[in-house]
């Protein structure tokens, strides 16, 4: 809502407030002032001039030489505007004037003819192009009413005005009118509101003799009033009105249209004027549109309506889409003599539906959608008639032809001083409450410390105690509330076990050299189904898609974080950031339905991508690139720290390198995978050798087994044995390791691979794996014989299970 302060002053005394001080007060009290705009800069030497004569320039077709009376003198001005004529009152910037944009007016010679000033357009004074009436857009401004020659134009053109831009929250639709703003400002400044003049003379003819109103859709239209004004002269509206409309961002058209717009802004009540002579009947019928009913709106578009839309008809065909836009057929034009003025209350839902279906949001529809003040509907009609009589020479017919089932009741809300103070933490007195209610201009009935507030209908947002609590608090001033801390029992806050574990996982990842990334949950359908972990794949029937995505790019909820991280890797690589180590903890969205009807499961995953240099210290010849084992080491370290037992198994997963991918199992349950991205998929991201991992955090969080109990540090020495075995090259070391673990007996303390060899001195297709076994008994020193016996057991077992023999 744009609020002209000059206009606002018509209703409330602003005292010595500057635009800035007033804006600050309004903001603090409840309506945010988002900006202050001045119509023009302060102008000097810009006055009203009278064009005494206007002759063609001897040497230039498009220029005129004018003699202009500027009050104190008569000066010659060369003017290029096509619409300049003798006998006009115009805006003259005299020599010495400085126009917006630091445009200095000096004495000049134009094609040899002396010019001592400039005749101006509104734009040249700083008025925005879109607010300038169309017929004046290409030329100078011409005064069409009586003005005093030689006087400063500022007041005539409202150039000293400041416009406040109010950012209205949805509840404050009362401030969608100048009067509403006036009440707000009056409450802030403790002033009274001066209401506009709504009186007019009437002819003997009654409106009800000329039109009959019938409302069929009673729910949608509890009030419909039709006034009639005859003998209308269509012309420009008064300059002051045009100025205020322009200040409010509305382009002036003609007196009738301007008056309806002016009253809309003044009262917040939309009005519509029909040309009664073109209405085609004397019967107004308000009804729902029929299916496929056609209607041409004033913008000359033919609209197809349906039963969800409310229309104003002449008994046969629509003349307006209620509250949204009038019809082309009965539009007010130059020739209009009689108008039918509609002042009505349309239900917000009906109007919103039409706005939505036809994409027609307007100043009118916005107000109906939010709900207008029942007590201003008819008053706005009166106000418009007052203005029509004055500025359109109208003869007003008596009375109004109406349908009226509107609720005009003021709602009562009871407040008590005690409860106000209890909720605000204040010590406001009864007297202060009274002062606040008076400032708001709310009537009330007092009984001790209890007040029954009769909330005026302009404030439809106030219906319960808490609404009044806010009114009291904001007029009292949020600044005046104390700073207190809750008095309720203090209980300690704490992370849940899962939340703490999540932080732990992040620490491990970051300690291992990975940086955290956060990507979008919404992706393309194609990407959503890429690199989906086997454990997710079996659960997800199909990815969850938005009903109406804004773009395919963000249309589907992800089933894996990896495709997004690969896109991030690709982005970084394209910017020469080739060494990548990123992880993300986030949810994937798993639905077990083909057509989603219930919330998908949101499962926490830990995903990572790595490529490029891992270790780089060139002058020491240390250079190591990320490979499978770098990535696996990180995953193993995390899982080991979480105290979970897992097995890695070679796996074939879509989008992954068939020879360099492992699926991870815990308790025979798949909990993720790790490996190199298939080069074909990597290529679609412009990536080459990149490694990824993806883990089921839901499982890991639940499986965590790290009870911190003390274990005696071994007091007896461990014994160590190395064993080198030759076996088929394809035998997975993990399986051999498992065999060793189960065969070695209870004293095996640890076992790990320390050498892998294939090549010279070994038969084709064979490899050698060397293991180090450590034995320990915490209660005593083991004997050589015991260790030897275990060692022999191991040899037998690996031979039996894997055909592995001791390397010669």
């Amino acid at each position: 809502m744009l609020v002209s302060l000059n206009w606002l002053k018509q209703y409330v005394d602003l005292g010595s407030e500057t635009p800035e001080s007033l804006a600050d007060k309004i903001t603090k009290t409840g309506i945010e002032v988002e900006g202050i705009e001045y119509v023009s800069e302060k102008l000097n030497h810009v006055v009203v001039g009278y064009v005494e004569s206007c002759e063609k320039h001897p040497d230039a077709d498009k220029l005129n030489v004018t003699i202009v009376n500027v009050g104190t003198e008569t000066i010659q001005i060369v003017c290029g505007a096509p619409n300049v004529k003798a006998g006009q009152h115009v805006i003259v910037a005299k020599v010495g004037a400085v126009l917006p944009g630091n445009f200095k007016i000096k004495k000049a010679k134009l094609r040899g003819v002396e010019s001592n000033g400039m005749i101006c357009s509104l734009q040249e004074l700083g008025v925005k192009e879109q607010f300038v009436p169309k017929d004046l857009a290409d030329g100078i401004f011409v005064f069409d009413e009586e003005v005093e020659v030689g006087r400063d134009v500022t007041s005539y053109l409202n150039l000293d005005d400041a416009i406040l831009e109010l950012g209205l929250t949805p509840n404050r639709s009362d401030a969608l009118s100048m009067l509403g703003v006036a009440y707000e400002v009056a409450a802030i400044l403790n002033e009274k509101v001066q209401l506009p003049n709504v009186s007019y003379n009437t002819s003997t003819k009654r409106a009800s003799e000329l039109v009959n109103v019938e409302v069929e859709a009673k729910e949608d239209n509890p009030y419909y009033g039709a006034f009639v004004a005859k003998n209308i002269t269509i012309k420009a509206s008064p300059l002051w009105m045009r100025n205020y409309l322009m200040a409010a961002g509305i382009r002036p058209i003609n007196n009738v249209v301007d008056i309806t717009n002016y009253v809309l802004l003044e009262y917040g009540q939309p009005l519509h004027a029909f040309d009664l002579d073109k209405f085609g009947s004397n019967q107004i019928v308000v009804r729902r549109a029929e299916a496929e009913e056609k209607f041409k709106t004033l913008d000359e578009e033919v609209r197809t309506l349906n039963a969800e839309h409310l229309v104003i008809t002449n008994g046969e065909r629509p003349h307006a889409l209620a509250g949204v836009m009038g019809g082309f057929e009965s539009e007010v034009s130059e020739t209009t003599r009689t108008i039918l003025l509609e002042a009505a209350y349309f239900d917000g839902k009906r109007v919103r539906q039409a706005v939505k279906d036809h994409g027609l949001r307007s100043e009118s529809s916005t107000r109906f959608e939010k709900g207008v003040d029942p007590n201003r509907v008819k008053k706005a009609g009166f106000r418009a008639l007052h203005l029509l009589e004055k500025y359109a020479d109208a003869t007003i017919c008596q009375g109004v032809s109406e349908y009226d089932a509107l609720d005009y009741e003021e709602k009562d809300v009871v407040i008590t001083t005690e409860r106000i103070n209890e909720r605000l933490g204040t010590t406001i007195s009864d007297d202060e409450i009274i002062v606040i209610l008076n400032k708001l201009q709310f009537n009330y009935t007092q009984s001790g410390s209890s007040f029954t507030v009769h909330v005026p209908t302009r404030r439809q947002d106030i219906t319960i105690f808490e609404d009044m609590l806010e009114e009291v608090a904001r007029i009292y001033g949020y600044d005046h509330l104390d700073y207190t801390l809750p008095e309720g029992g203090q209980f300690a806050g704490k992370l849940t076990e899962r939340q703490a574990l999540k932080r732990f996982v992040k620490q491990v990842m970051e300690g291992a050299g990975l940086s955290e990334a956060i990507t979008y949950s919404l992706t393309t359908t194609e990407r959503a189904t890429r690199l989906v972990a086997p454990d997710i794949k079996v659960k997800a029937v199909s990815p969850v898609r938005l009903a109406m995505p804004m773009s395919e790019e963000h249309s589907t909820l992800r089933l894996s974080i990896l495709p997004e991280l690969l896109a991030v890797a690709s982005y970084n690589q394209a910017r020469k950031e080739k060494d990548i180590a990123l992880y993300e903890i986030g949810t994937v969205f798993v639905s077990d339905e083909k057509e989603v009807t219930k919330q998908p499961k949101e499962l926490n995953r830990l995903s990572g991508v790595m490529q490029g240099a891992w270790l780089s210290h060139p002058f020491q010849q240390e250079q190591k690139s990320v490979d499978f084992y770098v990535a696996k080491g990180i995953v193993e370290t995390l899982i080991e720290r979480l105290g979970v037992d897992v097995q890695f198994t070679k796996a074939d997963i879509d989008g992954m390198h068939p020879g360099r991918t492992a699926e991870i199992f815990a308790n025979n349950q798949s909990i993720g995978f790790i490996g190199q991205v298939h080069p074909t998929l990597a290529k679609t991201y412009d990536l080459k050798e990149i490694y990824v991992f993806d883990l089921d955090l839901e499982y890991l969080y639940d499986a965590v087994d790290v009870e911190p109990r003390f274990v005696q540090i071994p007091r007896f020495p461990s014994m160590s044995r190395d064993i080198a075995l030759v076996m088929d090259g394809v035998t997975p070391s993990g399986e051999v390791l498992s065999t060793i673990k189960s065969a070695a007996g209870e004293h095996l303390y640890s076992v790990h691979v320390f050498d892998v060899y294939q090549g010279d001195n070994l038969p084709e297709g064979k490899k050698s794996l060397a293991f180090n076994l450590r034995y320990l008994d915490p209660t005593r020193t083991l004997t050589d014989e015991e260790v030897e016996a275990s060692y022999m057991h191991v040899l037998e077992a690996v031979k039996a299970r894997h055909g592995a023999v001791l390397r010669a």
Binding site: E466, R474, G493
Partner: protein, 344 residues
């Protein structure tokens, strides 16, 4: 005998002094103190001495032996030190060359901010609650006093999946869920951080996905001044002791009265500058007293219980606190951006 010992001592000490390396020194030791050396010989001859002479000569012999041993030891240490020094000299490296870097990652800036907010509120006794990102229309809107045709739903155009399911537009449904879980008879003191989604075209200041941290406190006799006090404490801890807060009336369907909180501008301290658009204040969060309908729907009697709620956007806070100029940076994950915020 005594003269002989004296002479031996002099002779040995001279040889020690003349020895030029460890090997020569060892030869001296073997030559004089070894089994076949003169000292042993002298001591062997002790038996021939009279009982009176024996202790005198014995003591002298020990002294001589000690003197030679000490001299040998001192010289040996000097030689060893020389050897070590020579070795150390050859081991000298360029200590100004860089060390081998340790691979250390770090958290995303948004996570750092959320974690800091979480920890501040945990310190004030709040718990952290989480909830689903795909929400039901009921929890996202209706339970928060936004019935189906409420005009305020326009404020946050949403991503619907079905008529009843959508991507949550705020983390407030977690509040409604938590209150429901506590069944209306237990105080609620929680914050809920998380991802939220709105139908916005991504640009420098809009993102279809962003982060929110919301808080809720419901108990008997919670006052609006408590909201002011708690937010003030948070603002001072998070933004700095010198920052002031200001509450302004606002509107949210789930709170009444509603507030918007500004903090004084860090740059101009309230005087007005380009950072705060000349107002002296920067908008940080919204909040208010929980609407009685919201309490009622969650099973809390608004006659007995009252509460406050608030919410803020970590992206906006990060942008203000660190001058990040484009919200898309948070989701592009340029490593050069991510690593800027890994320092202590």
């Amino acid at each position: 005998m005594q003269e002989k010992l004296h002479a031996l001592k002099e002779e040995a000490l001279t040889k020690v002094a003349q020895a030029e390396d460890l090997k020569a020194l060892e030869a001296v030791r073997v030559g004089y103190l070894g089994k076949k050396g003169p000292m042993t010989e002298v001591l062997r001859g002790m038996g021939k001495l009279s009982p009176e002479e024996r202790p005198v000569v014995g003591e002298l012999a020990n002294k001589v032996r000690e003197a030679i041993t000490t001299a040998l030891e001192e010289k040996k240490q000097r030689f060893e030190a020389d050897v070590l020094n020579t070795q150390l000299k050859t081991e000298t490296i360029d200590v100004t060359l860089p060390g081998r870097p340790v691979n250390l990652g770090g958290p995303h800036l948004l996570t750092s901010i959320v974690t800091e907010i979480e920890d501040l509120f945990i310190g004030m006794g709040f718990d952290i609650k989480e909830g689903p990102e795909v929400e039901t229309d009921y929890y996202n809107f209706e339970a928060l006093n936004l019935p189906k045709d409420h005009p305020a739903r326009d404020m946050q155009d949403s991503f619907y999946i079905t008529e009843e399911l959508l991507l949550r537009t705020h983390t407030s449904p977690v509040q409604a869920r938590t209150m429901g879980e506590y069944r209306g008879n237990k105080p609620v003191k929680m914050i809920c951080p998380g991802k939220v989604y709105r139908r916005d075209t991504d640009d420098a200041t809009h993102s279809h996905q962003f982060t929110q941290v919301e808080g809720l406190y419901v108990d008997k006799n919670v006052r609006m001044s408590d909201l002011k006090g708690v937010l003030n404490q948070f603002a001072k801890q998070f933004f700095g002791e010198e920052r002031e807060i200001r509450l302004r009336p606002s509107f949210f369907p789930f709170t009444e009265p509603s507030v918007e909180m500004d903090i004084s501008c860090k740059v101009c301290h309230g005087k007005g500058c380009s950072v705060c658009k000349q107002t002296g204040w920067i908008e940080i969060l919204g909040g208010g007293m929980v609407h009685p309908d919201v309490l009622k729907m969650a099973g809390y009697d608004p006659e007995i219980y009252s509460g406050f709620a608030f919410g803020m956007g970590p992206e906006r806070i990060a942008m203000l606190k660190y001058g990040v100029d484009d919200i898309r940076h948070f989701y592009t994950n340029d490593q050069r951006f991510l690593t800027q915020y890994h320092k202590a």
